[in-house]
């Protein structure tokens, strides 16, 4: 995700249709899991899951262009994993594909495509979830769904303090550069190292102060309480129809 100071990342994603985050998490996560569990080589099934993704995006009014931009921005990270697979040594039952001067493994290439497709689908699901629900909503929803409280707390804190840390880093850099620091040569590494160390110490001290602020309001460890309500009919409908759809797609003779 790209962070812009002053931009409200929490709330840029509106809580579409007022549906509870839990319903959306189950729907998107269900689709990602269904996609990943597709036996490899079953391209029509994966294609149908792609169509499900589009359908769900439309149903939840996800901003398609923005979601796609996010998927593309993240793609180098997960596509890199698949890039080397076609070059694996041939195994019995495999055959070689010629690509110019290169010899590729046919099985390896198919595996690479399969991985790339599934990874793209999974990332697209996460990106769509992030665009149809605020981060605060997602973490609350996860906690209500029974995700480990420590994990949820960690996620909240990471997001909450990432920007604060970034601003602190920028202030330090500005102060450094204002004193005519070039920062291009190897001997400048010491200064950068000192900055990182100082950022680390400041973070520890901040953590201590945050903890004091929490303790002074009666916190004694454990999960933050979240309020909860029963899922509405519409939310149950979304969950049930999504899960049913994913199962049916898998069982269809495609």
């Amino acid at each position: 995700m790209h962070f812009t100071p002053g931009h409200d990342h929490y709330h840029e994603a509106l809580e579409t249709g007022g549906l509870d985050a839990r319903a959306k998490i189950v729907a998107w996560l269900g689709l990602a899991i269904a996609g990943v569990l597709t036996p490899w080589g079953q391209w029509p099934v994966l294609g149908a899951y792609g169509a499900c993704w589009l359908l769900l995006c439309l149903a939840l009014a996800a901003p398609l262009l923005k979601v796609l931009r996010r998927v593309i921005a993240a793609s180098p990270f997960f596509l890199l994993l698949a890039v080397l697979l076609p070059f694996r040594p041939l195994e019995p039952g495999d055959h070689a594909l010629a690509l110019g001067p290169l010899t590729l493994s046919a099985a390896g290439s198919e595996l690479a495509l399969d991985m790339a497709a599934k990874a793209t689908l999974s990332v697209a699901c996460v990106a769509a979830l992030a665009s149809t629900e605020s981060l605060a909503g997602v973490t609350r929803g996860m906690q209500r769904l029974g995700a480990p409280a420590l994990f949820v707390t960690l996620m909240n804190f990471t997001f909450r303090y990432l920007l604060v840390l970034r601003e602190e880093t920028q202030r330090m850099k500005r102060a450094r550069d204002a004193r005519a620091f070039g920062g291009r040569w190897l001997w400048h590494a010491r200064v950068v190292g000192l900055m990182i160390g100082s950022l680390f110490l400041r973070s520890i001290e901040r953590a201590e102060r945050v903890h004091q602020a929490m303790a002074s309001r009666g916190y004694s460890g454990g999960a933050f309480a979240v309020s909860s309500r029963a899922l509405s009919g519409a939310e149950w409908l979304l969950i049930a129809s999504c899960l049913l759809l994913f199962v049916v797609v898998r069982l269809l003779p495609l």
Partner: protein, 235 residues
């Protein structure tokens, strides 16, 4: 006789690295009183504040409304004393302002059915009625300071301890905060070096230096003694 809101007797504290922060501090604040705790940087003001809530433990006696600050009383003490930290980024750690204001009451066991009402009331009190669903990240410093106030007001604390409430605020933010403080009926202990704030808000001042209380008295008297202020880095 009613118990004083805050009673500190002969309190001494050293930081783990051996630096003495408080040396035999005694302090008494009556219920409903507004007291300014003045002193230069490093005088021990903030350290003293942390003791009022049991965040630091050390030799000496601290009592809040007659209840000694001991481990077994922590919950009660922390409900009665609301600390507002100097940097609101330390105090606002939740994804939304609502969650932050609800954090204390939830820890005290307030039922969810009353949460909305309590949070809305606290935010209205500090003049941020629209901020509940916003992220603390995106509030201005003045708004953050007021949201931080709301987090302790929601706990219905009877004693408020504010660490440098006006530091870093622009004149309007400062005026809004002062108006808010003047409207409060709680006992106030304000840690500051903003003498104007002390003058217009507090009837009594306590001056600390090097971990000791060096002077205390009526605000009008104390703040008129220029040589005293100069000596302790306040003028």
């Amino acid at each position: 006789m009613t118990a004083p809101a805050i009673s500190v007797k002969n309190l001494s504290f050293r930081y783990p690295d051996g630096v003495p922060a408080l040396e035999g501090v005694s302090l008494r604040v009556a219920q409903g009183e507004r007291v300014a705790l003045l002193g230069a940087n490093g005088a021990g003001k903030s350290t003293l504040m942390l003791h009022l809530n049991g965040l630091h433990e050390s030799r000496g006696e601290v009592e809040i409304l007659g209840v000694p600050v001991l481990r077994r009383n922590l919950k009660l003490v922390r409900q009665r004393v609301g600390l507002v930290f100097q940097n609101p980024d330390d105090q606002l750690f939740c994804p939304t302002v609502f969650e932050d204001v609800a954090f204390g009451p939830r820890n005290l066991g307030l039922p969810e059915s009353r949460m909305e009402e309590v949070v809305t009331h606290a935010l209205a009190q500090v003049g941020l009625p629209q901020a509940a669903q916003r992220s603390p990240l995106h509030l201005s410093i003045g708004e953050k300071k007021r949201a931080a106030m709301a987090t302790v007001l929601a706990m219905e604390a009877e004693i408020l301890c504010l660490d440098e409430p006006t530091a870093g605020l622009d004149p309007r933010g400062r005026r809004e905060l002062m108006d808010l403080l003047k409207a409060l009926s709680q006992t106030l202990l304000v840690v500051t070096h903003d003498l104007e704030l002390a003058r217009s808000l507090c009837s009594r001042c306590v001056i600390m230096a090097r971990g000791k209380v060096v002077a205390e008295g009526e605000t009008s008297d104390l703040l008129g003694r220029q040589e005293l202020l100069l000596e302790h880095g306040l003028a």
